[in-house]
């Protein structure tokens, strides 16, 4: 009998639930402490012990019918299910649940590419379809459509979109490019959103809004339902493409670069998500920190300067792409060059420039939708495995960029960590991603990382900055920073939760939405 059980569930009920689930999905696909492999659901990267979020079991249905039967059993017996798709949500908690003892509902076996419409340029996928898989499907079938992937290609098209994750082609806002969901509720009810609610719809994946209230959004970053299918728009292979990088020599160039980027983005001169990674982020996929500095605390300026010179990197590096017919690319590139030439010392690179530069190679791949795992090499910087992303949203202004950068960098340095960050410019705002790298085999360092992250949440909130997404351990904390008018929004979330999932079995605590709180 397992020693770990979901909170509030007796050992007998839990054994009964597992036995009944095994009868549905097969012995092998209910994994608990007694079987092998439960450790693959542990979060071994966050700044807290993996035991604080270790599941009691995982159940992996193969299709919607099995899923429905599993959900009905969980509903009847009050078993909390934590939904994952590919379960590669690293930097934010991986496949682990919010709380120890919950059961991971692992949908990676539901991994069919159900449809690709070459003419209207979309695909319909199940939760377990990874970026690698969808890419290979298109390649194998010679379909001239691009995917847009997050940096780690092993992630799930659906899981990442449901987290409102980002990619690097013009289709980089994944939730925006989602069109048409199939969702299961906590009692097993299955429905389709938008046009998919018609019995014989032929536009489910073409028109997002359908008729009546538009519901898709409430199933993203949420625990109101389980998404079982999703339509995703794919970008037709463009007639031309030109990736570019502009290196900027000084730290304070961030200000001017951001102000230059805002109109270029808003006017769609640059169509994809522009990135402005700092020196360390852009170098860390190429060299370990110890090549330049083995001392304690943040890397000193002298070492930074040497690294920038050796690797020919800027203190900031603007990375983006242009797409379309060549004359349009040429015209837009002229506008961009003129704008950035105002920054003294800016250097311009395109396409095949910088041969052998590993980070430039993977950036180029991502900007044409080729999945890879090169960015994981960021873990080699410190080499201790620990990482967690602090991801506040910022207006696209030089003042805000510099304010956030200085705020985070000075705290990171105070706690003994390097600042490794990038700004991803979207339609009107920037996602600022600070990747906090720490040596997880060092307990004191791990504790410091945990504390630093908490402090950053409060300090950012005090300045009006909120995070777009977060790690399991900070979901409640961040939810509290969205407290306008006496927590009105989170109170509403809880009301919806109680209405849709009164027993609170689906992903309890996701984004700070706990079922039974008022």
């Amino acid at each position: 009998m397992s020693t770990r059980v979901p909170q509030g569930v007796s050992a007998e009920v839990f054994e009964d639930a597992k036995a009944r689930m095994r009868a549905v999905v097969g012995r092998r696909w209910v994994i608990d402490e007694e079987s092998q492999g439960l450790a693959s659901y542990y979060d071994i990267y966050s700044p807290a012990s993996e035991m604080t979020t270790a599941p009691s079991a995982a159940v992996a249905p193969a299709n919607v019918e099995e899923l429905q039967r599993v959900v009905v059993i969980a509903h009847e017996l009050g078993i909390p299910l934590w939904t994952t798709s590919a379960g590669k949500n690293y930097a934010y908690g991986g496949p682990a649940p919010r709380e120890a003892g919950m059961v991971v509902l692992d949908l990676k076996r539901m991994n069919r590419v159900l449809e690709v419409d070459t003419e209207s340029a979309y695909a319909v996928v199940e939760p377990g379809v990874s970026y690698f898989q969808l890419y290979e499907h298109l390649q194998k079938n010679k379909i001239p459509l691009w995917i847009d992937c997050a940096a780690p290609g092993w992630g799930s098209v659906l899981g990442n979109a449901s987290e409102r994750g980002v990619g690097y082609t013009p289709y980089g806002d994944h939730w925006m490019m989602q069109c048409g969901l199939e969702v299961m509720l906590a009692d097993g009810t299955l429905f389709r959103t938008g046009m998919g609610a018609m019995e014989n719809s032929n536009t489910w994946n073409l028109f997002k809004y359908g008729y009546g209230p538009y519901l898709d959004g409430i199933f993203s970053q949420s625990n109101f339902g389980i998404i079982t299918k999703m339509g995703i728009w794919l970008m037709p292979e463009p007639p031309g493409h030109m990736p570019f990088m502009i290196t900027l020599p000084r730290e304070d160039d961030l200000h001017m670069a951001t102000d230059i980027l805002r109109p270029l983005k808003i006017n769609m001169v640059i169509p994809n998500g522009v990135l402005t990674p700092d020196l360390i982020w852009e170098s860390a996929t190429k060299v370990p920190r110890s090549k330049y500095y083995t001392g304690k605390g943040p890397m000193p300026d002298s070492a930074r300067k040497k690294m920038a010179k050796d690797l020919d990197m800027g203190q900031w590096n603007v990375i983006a792409g242009l797409y379309g017919p060549q004359p349009i690319i040429d015209a837009n590139w002229g506008v961009i060059r003129d704008a950035f030439a105002k920054i003294p010392g800016a250097k311009f690179y395109t396409g095949d420039d910088r041969p052998g530069d590993v980070s430039w190679e993977y950036r180029k791949k991502l900007m044409r939708g080729e999945p890879n795992l090169t960015e994981f090499n960021l873990m080699n910087w410190v080499g201790g495995g620990g990482h967690v992303n602090f991801s506040p949203i910022s207006p696209t202004t030089g003042d805000d960029a510099v304010k956030q950068y200085e705020m985070i960098r000075s705290r990171a340095h105070e706690y003994g960590f390097d600042y490794m960050g990038e700004f991803a410019v979207g339609w009107r705002e920037m996602h600022h991603i600070f990747m906090l790298m720490f040596n997880r085999t060092d307990e004191a360092e791990t504790k410091r990382a945990y504390e630093l992250f908490s402090l950053l949440i409060d300090e950012a909130a005090a300045e009006g900055y909120g995070e777009y997404r977060t790690n399991l351990h900070y979901m409640d904390h961040i939810a509290k920073t969205y407290g306008y008018n006496d927590d009105a929004l989170w109170k509403l979330h809880r009301r919806i939760k109680r209405a849709l999932d009164p027993k609170g079995i689906l992903s309890p605590g996701k984004q700070g939405i706990w079922p039974l709180e008022s």
């Binding site: 590669k88 060299v287 083995t294 080699n380």
Partner: protein, 191 residues
């Protein structure tokens, strides 16, 4: 002779932290006809040494490249899921990805050693395993050729098992040819 079955049972017990049924070793697995493959960061001197030690024992190494996905895709192509054992000396990223992918494909982590460069310029070996395995490795005396020694001994070593696991930390002078920290690891099939 160690059969594939006893090896798998032993390795399985290791993963679950239960009493060992057999004493799985990579040499035993090789003897049982099970494929063993190595993934090694050959961009650094220690990696090249490790590869050499494995090669002398009949184990070929795939070169870990900048994109860890490439080596993993090759592994997936060459061997049926779960039917092989993988030994590695890589940087952290490749280890993390191999370990997670291995777990998804029926493998368990049976060995992990962290070989970290310390702020004072020393190299620290932090190993989890049986005391006798670790003293056989003699990394504290191996100095600059620690990776060769590790490669040689790890193949014959009994993989760690449950209660007898220990953690040993030794620090030695920084090897001349190494700039980054490395991780040694072994993934074995679950029963």
């Amino acid at each position: 002779m160690v059969t594939r079955r006893t090896f798998l049972q032993g390795a399985a017990a290791t993963g679950a932290g239960a009493t060992l049924v057999a004493e799985p070793t990579l040499a035993g697995w090789l003897e049982a006809g099970g494929p063993v493959v190595a993934v090694v960061d050959q961009r650094v001197g220690s990696g090249r040494q490790f590869s050499e030690a494995l090669r002398s024992q009949g184990i070929a190494a795939l070169a870990d490249e900048h994109d860890p996905a490439i080596v993993l895709a090759r592994l997936a192509e060459e061997f049926a899921p779960g039917g092989y054992t993988v030994i590695g000396l890589t940087q952290m990223a490749t280890f993390l990805i191999a370990e997670r992918t291995g777990m998804d494909n029926g493998l368990n982590l049976a060995w992990r050693g962290d070989h970290r460069l310390l702020p004072n310029g020393q190299l620290q070996h932090r190993l989890r395993g049986r005391a006798e395995t670790m003293s056989a490795l003699a990394l504290d005396r191996a100095g600059d050729s620690w990776a060769y020694s590790l490669g040689q001994h790890l193949v014959a070593a009994r993989l760690p098992g449950g209660a007898e696991e220990q953690s040993i930390t030794t620090a030695v002078a920084r090897p001349r040819q190494q700039t980054g920290s490395l991780v040694s690891w072994v993934l074995v099939p679950r029963a």
